[in-house]
Symmetry: C2
Subunit: 97 residues, 2 copies
């Protein structure tokens, strides 16, 4: 196996872990959505999003720069919000293509 | 601690792991970029990107749907490419805000 294949294999392993963590995170966001609904809290809390972005930038040690980390988490938060809205509107659960 | 705080704490923990894995993945992409440069290979290989997207969709068990996973990884790949370009052009290493 060439070095190139070795690094690609490592990326594939990391990607599997990322998929798992992204889904675990989304499940947490769904649980939070249900609690908020039960407590009649606003679904969308901008100060919590700001806190999340502060936390991930603080945890960042590179090589991705802080702007890249922020962009990625804005997208992650956005997908969680889309999923939450889908469930709140009574959408069916997980769709596999 | 309320249930809400508990779920948020879990999200904060997951986010730290995500930051770490995203950076580890980017480091692998940088290593691959250097190998490709040394071997005079094309930096950008669309069939490898297609393979990555197939792999992550295959690994996906929800609650995020396949389209969401694909969108997230398109962004992750894009940030890796930006970082690689930055290094190839002799940019300084990691910038902290």
């Amino acid at each position: 196996m060439s070095d190139l294949d070795g690094w690609r294999k490592r990326i594939d392993e990391i990607d599997k872990q990322l998929v798992k963590l992204l889904n675990e995170r989304s499940q947490c966001a769904l649980e939070i959505g249900q609690l908020k609904k039960a407590m009649k809290m606003a679904a969308w809390q901008p100060q919590r999003e700001a806190e999340i972005l502060r936390n991930v930038v603080k945890a960042n040690e590179g090589p991705l720069d802080d702007a890249a980390i922020r962009h990625l988490f804005e997208r992650i938060i956005d997908e969680a919000r889309t999923l939450e809205r889908h469930f709140m509107e009574g959408g069916s659960s997980f769709r596999k293509e």
